[in-house]
């Protein structure tokens, strides 16, 4: 063998060995941060899993309130966001509702799928676990949020159904929450479950059942979706859009007529003598119902139960009792009583009172929608009544095609 051949062979061996060494590298990847799905299936992960249900519900509600308010006349568009502009005009475009539909569905799915996971992990201890009634409760409110705002039910990639499906599921979940919370002596959760169930029973036409539940909710009771300044995700986004920014305004709504109304407060900011305007030229009347990024939003409350009972009475033709209940609700805010002797006047009072009491809580669109269907309110004339199936769901769910 010549020196040249020997050199060549040696070099080739070294090169091939080096190449193999290089390509034999470990391709494992380190990934601190995200959590693998299987790591949630442990007893110790349950509290955080249920906290996540609460967080997803708050996120869905908090980010929707602003747009829901634009779509139901609670606020006026003052900025230049294109989807928000459509909401304000009463045009609920499937592309625009992607975020809200997704957030609401995620809130529903994390609660319902989380309950399945909890059953598997906790086994016989499932019912007695302190987190279980909370999970049912969040599942109930997530379903109610969907039922009150979207037109069509879609569950876990399944076919389209009636919006009442959400209310039916919510009623079932609230019932389980009430039962288990009662067994655990968790009065707060049990009462919240009653308040939630009262509302969905009403929306399902079971006004008797609704009144029965509502009677068990103290007037002073309040159960909130939690917001916080702890992280941006926990913020009350409506405050961000109205106080931090100037994307929406009370200007131009029925609530702009009286800034002394304690349930629908707002103020203005002036530059010199001129009221500050938003990016699209709308005068900024800032809502002040929620003043901080941590301001909670009510999911159910005793005063709402008074109005629910009032509506039940009105539907039964009992104007007197309806007005008594309405004024009982007003009394809690130190407001003078209203007087109405006719059914029509009572309905006007009731619709106004619900609008004020539940202002910026993501509930108005449903009230307007059901009253429009019954012919007692015309605000939604020429406007979309509820959120359609989102473009993302429509495009990706083969059961909808």
């Amino acid at each position: 063998m010549t020196n040249s051949s020997r050199t060549l062979r040696t070099t080739l061996v070294i090169a091939i060995a080096s190449a193999l060494l290089v390509t034999a590298c470990d391709l494992k990847v380190t990934n601190p941060g995200p959590i693998a799905d299987e790591q949630l299936s442990s007893v110790t992960a349950i509290p955080a899993l249920v906290n996540g249900m609460s967080g997803d519900l708050s996120l869905a509600l908090g980010r929707y309130i602003d747009r829901g308010a634009l779509g139901s006349g609670e606020l006026t568009e003052a900025g230049l966001f294109i989807p928000e502009g459509h909401y304000y005009l009463g045009q609920f475009v499937p592309q625009d509702v992607n975020a809200d539909w997704g957030n609401m569905q995620t809130a529903r799915w994390t609660a319902e799928s989380g309950l399945v996971r909890m059953k598997a992990v906790l086994g016989a201890g499932f019912d007695a676990n302190v987190n279980t009634p909370r999970a049912y409760l969040y599942g109930g409110f997530a379903n109610r949020l969907l039922g009150e705002n979207v037109c069509t039910s879609v569950i876990d990639g399944g076919p389209a159904g009636s919006d009442s499906v959400y209310f039916t599921r919510a009623e079932s979940l609230f019932t389980r929450a009430f039962t288990l919370a009662t067994a655990l002596n968790n009065t707060s959760i049990a009462t919240a479950a009653l308040g939630g169930r009262a509302s969905v029973r009403a929306w399902l036409g079971n006004w008797t059942g609704a009144v029965a539940d509502a009677l068990l909710v103290p007037t002073a009771y309040n159960f909130n979706a939690v917001f916080s300044t702890n992280t941006a995700r926990e913020n009350n986004d409506l405050v961000n859009q109205t106080l931090t920014r100037s994307e929406t305004s009370v200007f131009g709504t029925v609530y702009a007529a009286n800034n002394k109304e304690p349930r629908a407060t707002w103020d203005t900011v002036k530059t010199g003598t001129a009221i500050t305007k938003g990016a699209n030229g709308t005068a900024i009347f800032r809502q002040t119902k929620y003043k901080t990024l941590a301001a909670p939003v009510s999911l159910t409350k005793g005063t709402e139960m008074l109005l629910l009972r009032a509506e039940a009475a009105l539907r039964a033709g009992d104007v007197t009792n309806a007005m008594l209940l309405i004024n009982a609700e007003r009394t809690t805010f130190a407001l003078a009583p209203l007087a109405a002797t006719t059914t029509a006047a009572a309905w006007t009072a009731l619709q106004s009172e619900r609008g004020l009491l539940l202002w910026l809580e993501g509930r108005r669109l449903w009230d307007l929608r059901r009253w429009f269907a019954e012919g007692t309110n015309t605000f939604l004339t020429g406007r979309d009544k509820c959120l359609p199936v989102s473009a993302d769901e429509a495009a990706s769910n083969s059961n909808l095609h």
Binding site: I35, S54, L80, T106, T229, N230, T276, A395
Partner: protein, 1100 residues
């Protein structure tokens, strides 16, 4: 050292046929003529010049007649001089030797019959310490073999057409480390050249490679001049590919080399260099912010989700191309590509398309940019100084009819908007304008040198550029050290390192409530209102508050790469490289305590660092297959380890003034943290068969593994095939008009890997219930995920015509990306809202690239050359999973089957020119985002070899841009082009039925005063433009001016001096980068200024 003076008188001198005889040699190809000339010059010199006998016997030069004569000698154990005498006598050679041979009197034995005198002489000295030297006339002398005989080569290199000297030509003595580089007068000197026939090769980008053989004699200086022809198509030019060095004639795909020594005007950064100089490259500036990175695309869009930026190699070592995170307030980012100082760069190679980048592996489908920095220069140490000073200047902003320039050019006095609202800015500068000239300073000092065993290049640079506003500047300071050491005759080690510190202060820009243009152009609609105006009846604004906000991006970027090149035998080369790229950035946005909008202040900080560790190995073996075939076999491997760490923090509500930190605020937030590590490893093999150095066929493949691939994919294989045919080298080729023509074709694949964790189902840890631990669904995961694969077919040619006066290159390509990674929406009702990447899409691209350069005039006193490059790109999304992909809804940017990716979709006025109310089509296609054709003309005029003028222009057509400034300001009645229409709309609203008689439907839509009619879609505009990118004049100073012999020059230059565009926003290249770098939206982005510079370059 050999010295003729040491020799005694001739012991024996016999002459037979002593007439001078020229050496002639057996060299092939085009070098034959030059060698013959050199040989004739050698033979004509008076003093006899000796060559080693072995040089003559090897056939490199023709053997003198006497040495070929047959001799017979049989002598046993006699002194060497006795044998030599016998041979010389029989052959008729002249023989001389020194006294040292007489004193040594070595004894030898010779038994030769009927062999040549040359063989007999070789036999006589074999095994002794003596060697035989001969002259062209057949004289023979004897010298000690261990005494080195060296000579000197010097000469001058000139341009063949103009006879002007050429600076910077590399001259090397083949097979040695000896070499030199020409100075400004074209001269060079190489000492210590071993006596004998030496091949000397000269190389310079833009010229033919030329080789001559020179006979070097001991102690003598041999002059060797070169006259180089400009190489319109330089087929001998060496380029660097994934496998190592290849000659251009061997490369089957298009490849563009940008030589910075041809550029007179100072170039600020890589993106500026690529603008208008490389066909197939799209560069969009994005912003006028000093320090901002642009958008670079090679051959369009090949990926929807994985980015389209090319990968970058610096001196053969890969560096990360990841931009820093975008400044929240400044809305721009910093490109690492711009951290390579242009004064350090020697040349840049741009490799476009997967057919060319296959062997670079996964992630290479966006193309490859290879940057080669300067290295040691043969000869003594040489200093290089570059200094520039100048300024940025904005000129008029917006449409010409707007005399206030969107209230930027003019901000003084009481101003009014379309609805009559009057306002005054109490903080308007005394000049009456927000604009001023922004100072620019650039300094670079380098030194380069070389000795026998190593070479070096060391440099440092300082750059300082200010914007045309009160804040906004980009400061960099960098050092570079390139060192090469020839450790052994077969091993070369090189280490190239650079460190750059960059401090950018952004002015608030783009989609931000604090942004300069957003507030100023809105007039009384600014967020900064207050008191202090001289007219109390108008809206008083205080836009000066904008500049109290401090948005900064500070980076420290260190890149180092070591390469070992082992060449144990000439036909085998092994190269191993290791690289380390560490880029760390701190992006901070501070709103100070007491700020007009946020009185308690806030701070947001992103701490980011990116590390890329690479290891490359490539081996190439060249060997003959007999006859006319040659094989080049290459193989190697590569691994890179990419790490990304990012932490986002914020704090607000400071308790007092002062310089805040993250702990200054009462509200503190860890916004996010991201730590990712991706590892890629692969190997490649390539075989190239060459035939007669005319036809080259190459086949190869790359196999990659990547930690981001799903579990079911394993290794990915990307194949390639290419061919190059230098048809003009065929004998049948009629080279009268087209002297060089290379045909080429290539097909190959490359890919892009998905994100690091796209294959895995994950949940994100979050806080809920007021700070308690919680989870939220994050990533659905797809275990079948793999890279998207782009296949490209490319064909074209490179031609040189009319004796090199014209060059023409043409390429056509078509690409198809299969399994494009598309963010597919799963049914949101399944819980996971985030989109999941799936390999479902198809993207198509095709285009043509043409480059023409013509030497219009070439005289000694004047040279005029002109060129034009044409790029056409057609992009189309095929099946993208049956859905419309939203890139950014607010930018109206979507990817939809059958349209360019991405495109604008939205409301369109179908009767734009009709004098009627607008008819609106919803969800209509409004135009492609990126340009479809780019034309870049260039003209260079050189006079008296002293003064040169250079101009580069650029046309871009086919792109569109959402003018969100017009859309937003129209509604605020601050968009001047709408003032007239809006006045008529008001009259019409008041009942004047004829008010709109001359108003088109499009104007009625765009300028609507009814919020129900307004739509952003009406503001998607053509982004066509022509810009005079660069205009410069350079004067080459005579050496006596600065006492420099290495060339000095003074340059006056301007950039973006002229712009013409139908786009009504501020600049058709503007785009806010925070929301998306794929979608483009001009949302109050302050445009790029004009730049004027005076520069001096000198070597010393």
């Amino acid at each position: 050292m050999f010295s003729r003076s040491r020799w005694l008188a001739v012991a024996c001198f016999l002459v037979y046929g002593a007439a001078p005889q020229a050496w002639a040699q057996d060299v092939s190809g085009r070098a034959r003529d030059s060698v013959a000339k050199a040989q004739a010059a050698y033979a004509s010199t008076r003093a006899p010049q000796y060559l080693p006998l072995e040089t003559v016997r090897s056939g490199t030069v023709r053997m003198p007649e006497q040495l070929a004569r047959r001799v017979s000698v049989k002598l046993d154990a006699v002194p060497l001089q006795r044998v030599l005498m016998e041979i010389a006598t029989q052959a008729g050679l002249g023989l001389s030797y020194g006294e040292d041979l007489v004193r040594a009197a070595p004894t030898v034995s010779v038994d030769i019959a009927g062999r040549s005198a040359a063989d007999a002489l070789a036999s006589a000295v074999a095994g002794t310490r003596w060697m035989v030297l001969v002259t062209a006339t057949g004289q023979v002398t004897v010298n000690r073999a261990d005494v080195l005989m060296v000579g000197v080569i010097n000469g001058r290199v000139t341009d063949r057409a103009t006879s002007q000297p050429i600076e910077g030509v590399q001259i090397t003595v083949d097979g040695t480390r000896l070499g030199a580089e020409t100075s400004s007068d074209g001269r060079y000197t190489i000492g210590g050249v071993t006596a004998g026939a030496q091949h000397v090769t000269v190389r310079r980008l833009g010229y033919d490679v030329q080789t001559q053989i020179v006979m070097v004699s001991d102690g003598a200086t041999q002059t060797l001049n070169f006259a180089l022809g400009r190489a319109a198509v330089a087929l001998s030019q060496v380029v660097v590919t994934a496998t190592g060095e290849e000659r251009t004639r061997e490369v089957g795909n298009s490849l563009t080399v940008v030589d910075l020594s041809n550029e007179n005007a100072p170039i600020a950064n890589t993106q500026e260099l690529l603008t208008g100089r490389v066909p197939g490259v799209t560069v969009l500036g994005n912003s006028g912010q000093a320090g901002s990175g642009g958008t670079i695309r090679l051959r369009g869009v090949n990926s929807i989700s994985q980015g389209n930026s090319p990968i970058i190699y610096v001196d053969g070592v890969r560096m990360s191309g990841a931009h820093t995170p975008t400044s929240v307030g400044g809305r721009q980012d910093v490109s690492p590509l711009n951290d390579i100082d242009m004064t350090d760069v020697d040349h840049v190679e741009v490799v476009k398309g997967p057919a060319a980048t296959t062997l670079y592996g996964t992630e290479a489908s966006g193309g490859v940019i290879q940057i080669f920095t300067k290295h040691g220069k043969k000869g003594s140490a040489q200093g290089i100084l570059d200094a520039s000073t100048g300024f940025n200047n904005m000129g008029h902003i917006g449409v010409a009819s707007d005399t206030t320039g969107m209230f930027v050019n003019k901000c003084s006095g009481v101003l009014s908007i379309g609805d009559g609202t009057k306002f005054q800015d109490a903080t308007c500068p005394a000049s009456g304008s927000w604009l001023s000239n922004g100072q620019i300073s650039r300094y670079s000092l380098g030194v380069r040198g070389s000795n026998d065993s190593d070479d070096y290049y060391l440099s440092g640079n300082l750059n300082d550029e200010h914007s045309v506003l009160q804040t906004g500047n980009n400061r960099t300071a960098g050092v570079r050290g390139n060192i090469s050491v020839h450790a052994t005759p077969t091993l070369t080690l090189s280490l190239n390192s650079t460190f750059v510190k960059r401090d950018v202060r952004w002015y608030p820009d783009g989609l931000s409530s604090n942004a300069f243009l957003l507030n100023v152009s809105r007039g009384p609609g600014t967020f900064f209102k207050g008191s202090g105006c001289s007219d109390p009846t108008v809206v008083c604004i205080l836009n000066d508050s904008i500049f109290t906000i401090n948005n900064t991006t500070n980076t420290n970027h260190f890149i180092t790469g070591g390469t070992a090149t082992y060449t144990p035998i000439p036909k085998l080369s092994v190269r191993m490289s290791a690289g380390y790229d560490y880029d760390v950035a701190d992006i901070t946005d501070i709103t100070p305590f007491g700020h007009l909008r946020v009185p308690l202040g806030s701070i947001a900080e992103t701490q980011w660092n990116r590390t890329l560790i690479t290891l490359d190995l490539a081996a190439t073996l060249r060997h003959s297959l007999g006859r006319a075939f040659e094989s080049t076999t290459s193989f190697g491997g590569q691994t890179f380890d990419s790490r990304l760490n990012q932490t986002d923090l914020s704090s607000s509500n400071f308790s007092a003034p002062g310089v805040p930190t993250l702990t200054s605020g009462s509200l503190r937030n860890i916004v996010g943290q991201n730590e990712q590590r991706v590892i890629n490893a692969g190997y490649f093999a390539q075989e190239m068969i060459g035939w007669r150095d005319i036809l080259f066929v190459t086949g190869g493949f790359r196999v990659d593994g990547n930690s981001a691939f799903g579990t079911g994919f394993g290794l990915q294989t990307y194949p390639k095939v290419s061919a190059s045919y230098v048809i003009s080298d065929e004998k049948f080729w009629p080279s009268r008009f087209i002297e060089t023509l290379k045909l080429r074709a290539a097909v190959g694949e490359s890919g892009k890997a998905p994100g690091a964790f796209d294959a895995v189902r994950t949940w994100d840890p979050v806080a809920a219930e007021n700070g308690q631990s919680a989870f939220e669904p994050s990533q659905v995961g797809n275990p079948s995920l793999g890279p998207e694969r782009t296949r490209e077919v490319e064909g074209g040619f490179d031609a040189s015509m009319f004796n090199g006066k014209m060059s023409l290159s043409y390429s056509y390509y078509t690409t198809r990306t299969n399994g494009a990674l598309v963010p597919v929406t799963l049914p949101p009702s399944l819980g996971f809202a985030a989109r999941q990447l799936e390999n479902v899409g198809i993207l198509r691209n095709n285009g043509s690239e043409i480059a023409v350069n013509v030497d219009v005039l070439k005289r000694r006193s004047a040279e005029l050359s002109a060129g034009v490059q044409f790029t056409m790109v057609r992009s189309e999304a095929g099946d993208v999973g049956g859905q419309t992909i939203t890139v950014d809804a607010n930018s109206l940017s979507f990817v939809q089957q059958g349209y360019a990716a991405p495109s604008y979709f939205g409301d369109r006025v179908t009767n734009p020119t009709a004098l009627a109310d607008p008819v609106v089509e919803h969800n209509a296609f409004l135009g492609a985002t990126f340009p479809t054709s780019i034309i870049t003309p260039r003209v260079t005029l050189r006079l008296l070899n002293r003064v040169s003028f250079d101009a580069i222009g650029e046309f871009q057509r086919g792109g569109h841009l959402l003018n969100s400034i017009g859309f937003a300001n129209e509604g605020l009645f601050t968009w001047q082009p709408c003032f007239d229409t809006q006045a008529k709309l008001r009259l019409a609203a008041a009942g004047n039925t004829s008010a709109l008689a001359d108003v088109t439907a499009l104007d009625r839509a765009r300028c609507s005063i009814d919020s129900k009619v307004k739509s952003a879609g009406f503001w998607v505009e053509r982004a066509d433009f022509f810009k005079l990118r660069s205009l410069s004049m350079t004067y080459s100073l005579p050496d006596r001016v600065l006492g420099s012999s290495n060339g000095s020059s003074v340059t006056l230059s301007a950039r973006n001096l002229f712009k013409n565009t139908p786009y009504t926003g501020t600049d058709p290249e503007s785009a806010d980068q925070l929301v998306s770098s794929f979608a483009r939206r001009d949302y109050y982005v302050f445009p790029a200024p004009r730049t004027f510079l005076v520069s001096i370059h000198t070597g010393f």
